[in-house]
Symmetry: D3
Subunit: 208 residues, 6 copies
């Protein structure tokens, strides 16, 4: 009986194909659905674990904030699984500036401190702002402008997750001022004056 059973087990495991996961081969071309899969025989439990979110990011910067991503490039196991994560650290006074994730909804869970967060709707420019305590969860729908600010006097942190391994991150100030987009184009398309644009280009490392 045992013998027959083994054959049966073998039959099933060899003849059945499943797309349980597709750990990314980051080298090489991607496709619209993500990266090519590493051979299952070379995949181990380690490929499904990411240890980088246990340590606070370095907030010694101009925004007193840090974002530590566990997107597909850092965490190849997320490839094709439709989910990813990041850690957010906000020192007192810290701010994650206005930004969007073009390809994912964000779910933020405060793990330390207090965070004021908000997003703006596209149809009516309606503002949705809340001050969140530790343990609170907030949603930021896909593609909408949003921000997070430390709302207490001590360090705050959050775990955020996204319904895509590649949510994207477009910080409005960086998109406008941290590249070579000509000043006159920025002026024309933002209603800002040239002096303001040039100043921010200076601060954020942009040219043009």
């Amino acid at each position: 009986m045992l013998h027959i059973l083994f054959i049966f087990a073998l039959l099933f495991s060899s003849s059945v194909d499943a797309a349980d996961f597709c750990v990314a081969k980051l080298k090489g071309a991607g496709s619209p659905s993500g990266y090519a899969c590493r051979p299952p025989t070379k995949v181990t439990a380690d490929d499904f674990v990411f240890s980088g979110l246990g340590v606070a990011g370095n907030t010694s910067n101009i925004i007193s904030a840090a974002v530590t991503p566990a997107f597909v490039q850092q965490f190849p196991g997320t490839n094709g699984l439709g989910i990813s994560a990041a850690r957010l650290d906000l020192a007192p006074g810290g701010v994650v500036p206005m930004h969007t994730h073009p390809a994912a909804t964000e779910l933020l869970c405060v793990t330390a401190g207090k965070i004021q967060a908000g997003f703006i709707s596209s149809s009516a420019n309606q503002v949705y702002v809340k001050t969140l305590n530790t343990g609170d969860v907030m949603l930021f729908p896909q593609g909408l402008l949003h921000f997070q600010i430390n709302a207490g006097g001590k360090p705050a942190a959050a775990i955020v997750s996204f319904n895509s391994p590649e949510p994207g991150l477009q910080i409005t100030d960086f998109a406008l001022f941290a590249n070579d987009l000509p000043t006159d184009l920025v002026v024309k398309t933002t209603f800002l004056d040239a002096a303001t644009v040039k100043k921010l280009k200076g601060v954020l490392g942009g040219t043009g």
Copy 2:
């Protein structure tokens, strides 16, 4: 024979159900997939035709530009079909300011004049700008900041299409300055100074 055939035809048409289309009943609650369907018996060819894009929009405004949408609210036939359109008019000097479509990729086809258009990538803040002639087509990937500017001395126009009946439109300036988002939150999250923020709030009708 004819008799049998009729029965056969009847059989097929009555027993076969198809989701060819789902013209929106705009009144009543929507769902994540769109609006409820009007009964097929009340649908006519007119439901699949929209005539509003043949006329130039009114560009007598501060941006010398007009956007005439044919999204699901104006064009209920697009409901569930994964596509919609709009007309863009740019008087000389006209500008469609920096904006995103949170839920769709845009394809723009210039139908008159010259348009300078561009978008900014999320990963590297890379700028992709081109001056387009009549007949040229340009893509603006989902959720990315982009703009259009009249690039000639005469009126320009474009037909744009989206791969969603509800692409959304978030104009950055309106999102930041045309609502009650408190000035200090705008200041903290944009690096702009309070005077600039207040001035733009004044121009765009915002408060706070």
Copy 3:
């Protein structure tokens, strides 16, 4: 100028339709894509915030564990947004038994203590087990059997997220023993003997 601008703003906000979000009306029939949307005018920032995950669940039960969900039924704001969350508490010795989420991939982030977790692949019955420290993240691909166990001597907790507002939860023991599935059917389909089945039905409240 201001006047014109207001008209422009009005034009845009009234004529542009966007599917930014669809907060669930839980009463009434759902659809394959989720629940009907509450009118946007009745939606506030509170609809996007869930405060129940800040408090530990009650682990005074047979498995010394608790799962506190923030799925669409508890957190209607997730409707249509493709994401949800839950809190997991594991007292010392606590176990979340073998289970699947039929409709979502899970991403677990340990927020306190140590957790041993694992899943089993479908094709080769391969086991992927890891002991996770605070801050570690682990993935559990959609539909695969997995478990979590407290791996330290003190309470452990985790925030888990799912790429669906309705991930589902099928605990194998409850599916097999906590209902009226006849004992002989359980015996035939699990290779367990009738005495074991009847004992577990007794413990878990099943009949038949």
Copy 4:
């Protein structure tokens, strides 16, 4: 212990929401994702079973063939589940004429007799034809013209399945000749002459 366990079971089953299925309420408006769901409490095992495919359809008609659908309208349990089926009967000489399924790929499994079947690709008008024996399976990719013909001297049958509860069925001859599409429009758009068009309109019950 039992008491605690019951509470635990209760907790899980009441607090966890799952979208396992959504049996259609056929009355009332559908949505782009399908019909509204019947309340789970009113759903029984019968809703997931369809008994109509065990009986041969009536092939006493002009094409000596019958299609018995188990699409969402006949089999409401398929709503939202992404699959449906039909039975195909072909008397000797029977033919299912050229047709498409606009919204689904078809998988046909011959259960009796021999069937010659084929489809035509869209890019190169390439023909893929095979004669299938009982037990053979053939694929017809979404939206492509295909046909089935009895290829033996005795009755043939097949079970076909589709990856949609609403695959749609557009029989080319019925689309062209069984309605009020004006003869001159058919002539212009098909290269057929008016006499042929009028004759087929006569046979298939069309007007115009």
Copy 5:
């Protein structure tokens, strides 16, 4: 401060991965989701612009019509973006014969002249026909038979867009008569007589 900011900018742009776009490498195997992506460093603004739709197609042919596609093979920037376009030219008397797009809904915008267009539903063989003026938009749901005819005495043109980079195009006459599908199979599956089939095969270059 500048120094710190640069580090911050660097951190974000290098550590954040985004799937903004995936310009096709047309050489090499595709996948079900499209072609492999060209490296982002080799992508320029030109990849998102297609200039071929500004020129009328050559309508000196039997149907006095021309279709100029900007699908993924002509416009690799559309890969993975869920949208594409084409230009349609109809000389007086011009016709785009009955056809389907198996993989996309079409949105047509008349840019010159008048066009009579229509589609046929799958369930009830219902005809939806309209005569469109310049600026009118019409929808053709995915997979349904449709046609376009010049409805004025002068050249007409349209820009059409699709919600797929690979909509496909199956012209019914070409599928039936422009290949080696045996005449008897065409006869059996279309109700046409052999003489008509052979004549059309002759005209359209088919054999068999």
Copy 6:
């Protein structure tokens, strides 16, 4: 005229790109959307036909049952088409044990004999069981535990189809007992005692 027509035909067939199908190249890395496509020029009708389901599987094993899959690994033509099939054979007394398909809904059509089949819901552990006669169809929603048992005194068979080319198959007993998952982990996560676990590991070839 003929000449012009040929050019026209050529123009269309060469300039139009379609994603009708994507027959899998099984060697080489897959992607989240499936395998790479074989060149269309190397694809023939045979690639869309699978002949292995016409023969009964070998049921001389411990469960007196056999599953013969036609998933993408056996039937590469299903790649990207969203559907696949399998044959199920149940000798008298035969059982397909409790299992799930993590990535697909199953539709079963009984082609011979009688089959008792059932599934268990995730939310309420509700049991849905039916005895099916030849010709009956039953649905098993994605990811839910289900089983099939011969319900007559003679051989039974079924054709099952799935709305994915890679549905996956996770047999609960094999997942728990046919690998090296340590006995104490199985005990902790299933409520079974160690003796039962070790016995089943013995029978099913597991270790640990």
